[in-house]
Amino acid sequence: MQKSAVWVICPAFNEGATIANVVADLRRCRYNVVVVDDGSTDATRHEAAKGATAVVVHPVNLGQGAALKTGIDYALSQGAEIVVTFDADGQHRAENIARLVRALKQEHADFALGSRRLGQSRNMPFERRVFLFAATLFTVATTGLCLTDTHNGLRALTRRGASALSLRQNRMAHASEILTDIANSGLRYTEVPVTIDYTCYSLAKGQRTGDFMMILLDLFARKLHR
């Protein structure tokens, strides 16, 4: 697979401090990088523009799910064959992408999902560990997918896989929604061990454990209307 056909989507909201490094790492690995600035109020878009292949700016803050969708739409319009979702806060490693892309090819899968349970997570707090375990149980129960880590932001999708995602959940419920879509699409998926680095920065930016009530509410509301 040519690396020029791989597009990495980085949704970023006020990530001015890390985005330049993240983009530089990805560009060093010669991937196309689309930074979706989700209405940041800091210098994210300027920092991103220093290295990214493209910067797409939401005029208002819509949420990570919406930013992913925008990035995927853009990448597909640019002829991407493989789309990778990658967090902008520095907790993912650019080296892991090659592994995901290879897994797509070797296993003829349309979705390669990063798993920190198969791989490694550094400095994950106990509370986060319990929360993720519960989230995984919930998602496995509701989607029927056989996964060890359901809420990992590092994923690789083929063009066909990316087109099968609806991504109508703007906020954080998109992680569960993606899995539901994967289950419904009937396409092949595989899990790949990845390393997640928990830093003070990424923990502060990431989910609060209390957010799960909002996520459940979002998922419930989704079922009520068309």
Binding site: A49, P59, L62
Partner: protein
């Protein structure tokens, strides 16, 4: 009598509302329809409502109707919430269209510096790619360490 007429009018408007809403959210429409029908019945048959109220353990029929009214309000509130959500989806589509229309490819200067950088690093990268065998999870490169705050 006056109170009954006013209440009936209000409940009829809920009936109309549920009929209008049916296309968008059948669940909300059907439940508010049933609730308002029950309300109408009890407004005109307060005695029956008292029987029912006693049966389910509420003191007076009037209380029962008030509870029903609260339920209807909650359902309408939920429906408003759903409406807001679908409106937000429209906003999202709009914002996305604007964002994609204004998508900027990276500045030429930025791209060139990256090209230069990748040219230098590509040999090292190739070497590391070739040596890639199995996912060894404990390896941690100095470059990544430096990004960890």
């Amino acid at each position: 009598m006056i109170a009954q007429v006013i209440l009936s009018l209000l409940l009829c408007s809920v009936l109309v509302y549920s009929w209008v809403e049916y296309r968008r959210s059948p669940a909300v429409a059907v439940s508010s329809f049933i609730a308002s029908l029950a309300g109408l019945y009890f407004v005109w048959m307060p005695l029956h409502s008292t029987h029912v109220a006693k049966f389910i353990g509420i003191g007076r029929g009037a209380d029962l109707i008030m509870y029903l009214w609260v339920c209807i309000s909650l359902i309408v509130l939920l429906n408003l919430h759903l409406k807001l959500r679908s409106q937000h989806e429209v906003i999202t589509a709009l914002a996305r269209a604007i964002a994609l229309a204004n998508a900027s490819s990276a500045t030429e200067a930025g791209l060139q510096s990256i090209e230069h950088e990748t040219a230098i690093k590509s040999r090292a990268e190739l070497a590391s790619d070739a040596s890639y065998k199995e996912p060894t999870m404990t390896v941690r490169t100095a470059a990544v360490d430096s990004t960890v705050l």
